[in-house]
């Protein structure tokens, strides 16, 4: 961008897969078909919590066209994404834990037959007491949904204290406590999960799947199927949307693999939309308490944050999700002392996990609305208050997160200016309002999911004597543009056309490991790996080009498909010739690159969640119209500034920002994973009609500012942009609703019912607030006490 002499980086180029996508040529998992392919169907539990007494598959197995029927006994080894939560079975073994839990699998010659056969399977259940909410699970230790976890039906309990927060409150001019609730919601990728498996007669298993994490699926398959990893190949097909919902190994992937082994034929499964709701792994419903002490100028003396997460029926990423609700509260505003208590409960609902922002949108909502209330109470403009308390760049937080680049101040200034905040805040007519909120997110996690010392991302790069370059990387294209990032970075370094680069990704047989498309880690981590591989290739090519041109190596320039002398650009050769010289001298030209994040300074138990090589920052102003007669909230415009370090592709980055705003708007106003309280803990609305995803008619205008504050840890300074911009949207809308009509909806989603209820309450002289009023008693353990860096 401005001032940069890059030829590729920062430009708004097409993505490398754009033409395939606009011509319908991209092959998603369900687009694949193989000769003799069978279709699989899962039978799912119709009970929310029950022991399986007996399963009778006789009638199903006898149905003409059925080739195999599996139950839990065929796949008895448990799995789970986190080593500490190996609590899932591909097909339930002894017990079902939510409506939708897979119980049996059928492979048949057509999907119709497989469906009919699944309906013929008889399962006898002995119902158990069910738990529909985290509060119920906290209150009742028995019957336990799982026989592991920290206590009763509490999966995980965390208590961390960084300095004496009680004492910090004593030094405050104001101590304010608020309660918030964030309802669960789901990713809703337009593509339903699908997987296709083949098992060759030589004992080799291949699985194509719409997964964001082929590496973890590879590990789960090896473990559950008891096959050597070397005989399993997992290929992640381009994901038709992921957003975190395709980041766990899933039952259907393991089931089709096993069915392919049993039948000796290719087996495909494509989930129905309803089943996608049962896969879930979405946003945890989270109840939160936040208590902060502040000085009159708004500076924080201490903060105490508590969260209670409704985890649903399985562990998934839940331990990490729990820590994440507390970890990033410290990276935006200076918090000298901090206490975090978090608990995750098991309930009889579809399992929660990582959705865009993983565990941080809920606490961010709480924090940003809380800060808005504090600012009002202190009589300080909320933008000013934030600007005055920003975490400095290159600093450590109370919980030992290392902040590097930090462009939040610029972000706030941009949206304040662009939205004409000062003319609007508390000045618009009744019914119209503006709200501000900020946020931060990780650019990949500092630690891997399973403990090891190996790189998080690897790239192999091959230079062809024809001038072509092939980049091999385990990273997975889910629409965010990760394939393109690899091409742009390599093209920039080698001075070639990014569209001359072949990208081979997400294939465990062909590509070096990348941990997956989650935690907003891919641009930074696979980008750094690609950068290293490309720089090594350039070094090699430059050495031989310099010899050929008889110039010193430091004068060799790579640009425009040529390799030439910086002092005399006409003296040079084509990139292909440079490869040929190097190949003639050294043999096949190939390099590797890899990336391992820096060590985190935090050493306490729980310090593994939160560290990141770089944090992105966002600020957002939402303008809303609230109809006081109905409570209906419309959002005409959102201004958002996002500090992404450096835009590798500006247009793609804006696309991520706009998409994040969209998803945040849905969460703010209408999306929720709702369950029937009165009838068997069944998902109320597992359909695209009744789960309300905003259409073109609800989407707001978005004014996007890309703030470039390059981070030394990012490739060309790049940080994440795929998740962070979602976070400030919900609190900005909530704060804007307050500005518009003077009521607080301390819950997400902010539905018309809640707004109207608050307005009615206010009209009767009550507080004008809708939100939780109590945080249950949790049996917190002794806190892990860690003095903050400045007290250590």
């Amino acid at each position: 961008m401005a001032g940069s002499n890059h030829r590729v980086i920062g430009k708004a180029l097409r993505k490398v897969d754009a033409v395939a996508k606009v011509t319908g040529a991209t092959r998603f998992a369900d687009d694949l078909a193989l000769p003799r392919m069978l279709y699989a169907k899962l039978l799912r539990s119709t009970q929310p919590h029950a022991r399986i007494l007996a399963i009778d598959v006789t009638a199903a197995a006898r149905l003409p066209g059925v080739r195999a029927v599996l139950t839990g006994r065929d796949l008895p080894i448990p799995f789970g994404i986190l080593p500490v939560s190996q609590d899932e079975h591909a097909l339930c073994l002894d017990k079902v834990r939510f409506i939708g839990d897979p119980v049996a699998a059928v492979a048949a010659t057509s999907e119709e037959i497989a469906t009919a056969a699944a309906e013929l399977i008889r399962v006898d259940y002995e119902p158990l007491r069910t738990f529909a909410s985290a509060e119920e699970a906290v209150a009742n230790a028995e019957p336990r949904i799982h026989d592991y976890g920290d206590r009763g039906n509490l999966h995980k309990i965390v208590d961390l204290e960084f300095g004496d927060v009680a004492e910090a409150f004593e030094h405050a001019d104001l101590v304010r406590e608020d309660l918030f609730f964030f309802e669960g919601n789901t990713h809703l990728p337009m593509e339903q999960h699908a997987a296709l498996a083949t098992y060759a007669p030589d004992g080799k298993l291949t699985l194509w799947s719409s997964t964001q994490t082929p590496h973890y699926v590879h590990r789960a398959l090896a473990n559950v199927l008891e096959l050597p990893p070397a005989r399993i190949r997992v290929i992640a097909t381009p994901n038709g949307g992921g957003f975190g919902g395709k980041s766990d190994p899933f039952s259907h992937e393991i089931a089709v693999a096993k069915l392919a082994m049993v039948t000796g034929r290719p087996v495909k499964i494509t989930l129905t939309r309803e089943e996608v709701f049962y896969c879930h792994r979405g946003r945890h419903p989270t109840l939160m308490s936040i208590k902060t002490g502040v000085k009159r100028d708004g500076s924080i003396t201490g903060m105490h944050f508590k969260s209670l997460l409704d985890g649903g029926a399985y562990g998934s990423y839940g331990v990490a999700s729990t820590y994440y609700t507390g970890a990033l509260q410290t990276v935006t505003y200076q918090v000298p002392r901090y206490r975090f208590q978090g608990a995750r409960a098991f309930t009889n609902k579809a399992p929660c996990g990582p959705k865009r922002g993983h565990g941080t949108p809920q606490p961010r909502f709480a924090l940003e609305v809380h800060v808005d209330k504090i600012a009002e109470q202190l009589g300080i403009d909320p933008a000013e208050l934030r600007l005055n308390t920003l975490v400095p760049r290159d600093s450590l937080t109370a919980n030992y997160l290392r902040v590097g680049s930090m462009g939040l101040g610029t972000c706030i200034e941009k949206v304040v200016q662009g939205s004409e905040w000062k003319k609007k805040f508390r000045k618009l007519p009744h019914g119209r309002g503006v709200g501000l909120a900020c946020s931060s997110y990780i650019s990949g996690a500092g630690l891997p999911i399973y403990w090891n010392n190996m790189p998080h991302s690897g790239v192999q790069l091959k230079c062809d004597r024809g001038g072509g370059v092939t980049v091999f990387c385990g990273s997975t294209e889910i629409g965010q543009g990760s394939d393109s990032i690899l091409a742009y970075i390599v093209a920039e370094v080698l001075g070639i056309d990014p569209f001359h680069i072949a990208i081979v990704t997400a294939d465990t047989e062909l590509t070096p490991v990348d941990l997956g498309s989650y935690s907003s880690r891919v641009t930074l981590m696979s980008g750094n790996a690609a950068l290293q591989a490309a720089e090594r290739a350039r070094e090699l090519l430059a050495l031989h080009a310099a010899r050929r041109l008889e110039i010193p190596g430091d004068r060799v320039v790579f640009a425009d498909g040529r390799v030439f002398d910086s002092r005399d650009p006409d003296t040079g050769m084509s990139f292909a010739e440079a490869v040929q010289h190097a190949e003639a001298a050294e043999g096949t030209v190939g390099t590797v690159g890899s990336y391992t994040p820096p060590m985190s300074p935090g050493k306490y138990r729980g310090a593994g969640v939160g560290p990141s090589p770089a944090y992105s920052y966002s600020a957002c102003v939402a303008e809303v119209d609230v109809d006081p007669a109905t409570g209906i909230v419309r959002v005409p415009t959102i201004w958002i500034a996002h500090d992404l370090g450096r835009a590798i592709n500006a247009a793609a980055a804006i696309g991520q920002v706009e998409g994040s705003v969209y998803m945040g708007l849905g969460e703010a106003l209408m999306e929720e994973m709702a369950y029937r309280g009165n009838r068997n803990v069944v998902h109320k609305i597992p359909s695209l009609l009744e789960y309300k995803s905003p259409t073109t008619l609800e989407m707001c205008d978005v004014v996007t500012y890309l703030i470039e504050d390059p981070d030394p840890n990012g490739p060309f300074g790049a940080k994440e942009v795929g998740q962070g911009p979602l976070l400030p949207v919900m609190p900005a809308v909530a704060n804007a609703v307050y500005d518009a009509v003077g009521v607080r909806v301390d819950e997400v989603p902010i539905t018309p019912e809640k707004v109207l209820k608050a307005l009615r309450g206010k009209g009767k002289g009550e507080a004008g607030r809708v939100g939780p009023t109590r945080f249950p008693d949790i049996p917190w353990p002794e806190p892990v006490r860690v003095p903050p860096p400045w007290e250590a």
């Binding site: 337009m190 593509e191 247009a651 969209y662 008619l697």
Partner: protein
């Protein structure tokens, strides 16, 4: 099994399939035209949109047999040899396709709009695309791509606005 003649992307084809097969299934499974996607099979998302006699419809709720002798257009029919459709160009250039799964449906719905209304306003575009869900883009790049393609199809030498590609300064 019934043998049904269609005109798919301008070519006459005859296909044999059971009467309960939807047009979606016939296109994807009998004709191998997997560019048409699906997200619910209940008419609740618009992902399976194709043009039937020029009008965008939900192929998951149309029976194949009901399409006898009718003209069907899918995403595979949009590009000419060596030349993308203007909408495909602008969707690619602006990043209106992220994951790309809903893209064929949006392209066809947008094409039908521009044919009927060569100079659609932003609101016309929103209305015409209100039956297609996209979870990636927030629709904005899609609007901009439709506007740019419509302008070019009218013969204007239109280029994307700088803030579309690089954001607001």
């Amino acid at each position: 099994m019934l043998t049904t003649p269609f005109v798919v992307n301008g070519e006459r084809v005859e296909v044999a399939f059971a009467p309960h097969k939807t047009l979606l299934e016939v296109l994807r499974e009998d004709l191998g035209l997997t560019g048409t996607k699906h997200g619910c099979e209940l008419g609740e998302c618009g992902t399976c949109t194709v043009l039937l006699d020029g009008l965008p419809v939900l192929s998951c709720l149309v029976l194949g047999v009901a399409c006898a002798n009718r003209a069907i257009r899918t995403v595979e029919g949009m590009a000419q040899p060596g030349r993308l459709h203007p909408l495909q160009e602008t969707f690619a250039d602006l990043g209106a396709a992220q994951c790309g799964y809903c893209t064929p449906a949006f392209l066809l719905a947008a094409e039908a709009l521009i044919v009927a209304n060569p100079k659609p306003s932003r609101d016309d575009i929103k209305d015409a695309l209100a039956g297609n869900l996209c979870r990636c883009t927030g629709y904005i790049k899609i609007y901009e791509a439709v506007e740019l393609a419509a302008a070019r199809m009218r013969g204007e030498a239109a280029e994307p606005a700088p803030e579309t590609l690089y954001g607001r300064k």
